[in-house]
Amino acid sequence: MQATDGAALGPFRLTLRRIRRDRWTLAAVGLLAFIVFCSFAGGSIAGAFVGHSAQDQYPYAVDDNFKPAGPWTRVPDTSYVNANDYGETIPPPKGTKKTLLVLGADGTLGRDELLRLLDGGRTSLEIGIFGAFVALLVGVPLGIVSGYFGGFTDTVVSRLTESIMAFPLILFLVFASVRLADTLTPIGWGSTIPDGVFLVGLLIGLFTWFYPARLVRAEMLTLRNAEYVSAARSLGASEWRIVRRHLFPHVLPALIVWSAIAVAANILLEVGLSFVGVGVQAQTPTWGSMLSQVWGTIFAPGRYNSSTYSTWQTILPTLAILLTVFALNQLSEGIRSALEPWSSR
């Protein structure tokens, strides 16, 4: 199967060409690349420019009601509060340098919102991608076994997934993360990934593998009796080879489309988990925890108060989530329509 003459384009090149003609999808790819770059490298670059880190606290970046400063504010570069003899806050000593908070402060602690947004993007993307990866790792083999070979595995997998899929996913996640938090939270391979990211990603993956499994299973069911499969078998191909060379390439596009949506969905799921108060450790920013910092958890919902919170605290993380989900959604749509130009989306 080595096509070397340039006469006919292979399915991969053909798909790529269709994507290249679709400007919305191209824009989405560009946006996604920008978001990924900003999330993984942007934090340290921006940190070097403004000269502080995402964990630095600036008490002078909040007012008397602990309302954080708005975008583009210069605040005194000190973590100590200057107080007079009566305990009242007074301006910092003369000569204190000022530092720039590009998007303002993040909350009562007065940390840099921009840096936390960038770092939070990294955490959220890590959870999203890792969750989708775990789901594929578990779901695809099980889907192949249950769809292609059928039998007992198929019965167990199908019945079990049907029952579990009917139950609210978030309850499983809450239960599992409360039970497993102590065991799995510290896993982070040194400081490569923040505390709790591994746990949340793993759990999301372990409770969402049904979707890729069912995708693969459905495809295998329709394809396993196809003529070219019988042909391959009559030529003496092993079952493993048939699955790998003849069936799996058919499932791959659907899995790619699913993965893009899954990463988006996992990011949103992480927001939900933050609102329940489980998941990533408090000092690590995620887009979800930045929101729940303002709006509280479900046990203690925050009553929004414009004198203690700034609107930016809600708008910025929401906008970041929106852009990411929009890009991923458009990407999956684009891939889908490039793979199946005959279908009307």
Binding site: R159, E162, S163, M165, A166, F167, P168, L169, I170, L171, V174, F175, V178, R179, T208, Y211, R214, L215, A218, I261, A264, A265, N266, L268, L269, V271, G272, F275, V276, L291, S292, W295, I298, F299, P301, G302, R303, Y304, T314, T318, I321, L322, V325, F326, N329, S344, R345
Partner: protein
């Protein structure tokens, strides 16, 4: 008619099987996780003596053989007796244990959640049908792009944020709506508020919050269905014989989306209950969602009877909902009895 009956009975058997499976799974899971129910009886104690442990287990009935506990639980469940929860137990006297019954809690929680879900689902369909129709008629047009974008914004703003914003702004500051809380639908004398009008006014904002989240999914689906149908031969025929555009949409195009909506509604019931956790919290409801999270969080330990009751009721709602959808499906489309329902894709909203 017999065919429909067999179909219904088959589905019913599957539903009962699912219910028993979920209960058994919860039980097994609970046996596998080490926990000390005795802590519920002496929540203040740092360390329990052997006597206290044995005594507490005896009072709670957890010293009996596991299978006996399981059988007795199922037996009580058959009589709709959910038993008493472990949390909040109080020892009074030597052999007395005052325990809180679960039944009344569920009886007040379930209507709240069901009100949000049913009303919200109706609102979703009401909004999604016209929006999907507008989008689907001209894929890629400005109105199509706008509707998709707005729907996506609905998914990306978490119901907790939307709910709290609406509740604070419209409910508590502008006072256009009641400031949260739930009112029973059935008028009761002496209650702070009750009756259909109070009920609906307290639920309007939760419904909107619910609808915003699920709108994208349904709009998208109706859009796809409409776009697909617009090219069908019978639409050209209908146009050729002079059917107007409105009638064309309502009588020839949109009915095709009906079955898909029905399938989707059936699939998303569980998800809807999950979303209700946030909506209930934002509007100060004491519904099933919050009850279930409270049951799972347990600071003292896992409250097995409460968890079992919550799992049972949620599964029951999902199962009954699916049974209704399946039956409706079979009535509307007679081929459905043999057909496998498409269940493969769950939505983006489906996982929140």
């Amino acid at each position: 008619m017999t065919r429909l009956l067999t179909f219904f009975l088959r589905r019913l058997a599957a539903a009962v099987f699912t219910l028993i499976l979920m209960i058994t799974l919860t039980f097994v899971l609970f046996w596998a996780i080490p926990s000390d129910p005795a802590n519920f009886v002496y929540p203040a104690a740092q360390h329990l003596t052997d006597y206290q442990l044995a005594h507490a287990n005896h009072l709670l009935g957890t010293d009996r053989p596991l299978l006996e506990q399981y059988a007795s639980y199922l037996w009580h469940l058959l009589h709709f007796d959910f038993g008493t929860q472990w949390a909040g137990s109080q020892v009074t006297g030597e052999q007395q244990l005052v325990r809180l019954p679960i039944g009344p809690q569920l009886a007040s929680a379930v209507p709240q959640t069901l009100s949000i879900i049913i009303g919200g689902a109706l609102l979703v369909v009401l909004l999604a049908v016209p929006l999907g129709a507008i989008s689907g008629r001209r894929i890629g047009s400005v109105s199509d792009r706008t509707i998709s974008l707005v729907a996506l914004v609905g998914i990306c703003t978490h119901p907790m944020v939307v709910g709290l914003t609406l509740n604070t702004a419209l409910g508590q500051q502008l006072r256009w709506f009641p400031p949260g809380g739930y009112c029973p639908l059935i008028p009761t004398s002496g209650a702070y508020c009750s009756g259909p009008v109070d009920w609906a006014s307290h639920l309007l904002l939760p419904w909107i919050t619910f609808a915003l989240l699920f709108l994208a999914l349904y709009t998208r689906m109706i859009r796809a269905s409409v776009a697909e149908t617009m090219h069908a031969d019978y639409i050209r025929t209908a146009r050729a014989k002079g059917v107007g555009e409105t009638r064309l949409m309502t009588r020839h195009v949109l009915p095709n989306a009906g079955l898909r909506i029905l399938t989707m509604v059936g699939m998303e019931i569980g998800t809807a209950i999950g979303v209700c956790i946030f909506i209930e919290s934002a509007y100060g409801f004491q519904g099933l969602g919050r009850l279930s999270v409270t049951a799972l969080f347990g600071t003292v330990g896992l409250d097995l009877p409460l968890i079992l009751a919550v799992v049972f009721v949620i599964t029951l709602i999902v199962v009954i909902g699916n049974l209704l959808v399946d039956t409706l499906y079979a009535v509307i489309d007679p081929r459905a009895g043999q057909m496998l329902r498409e269940r493969e894709s769950k939505s983006l909203a489906g996982v929140i």
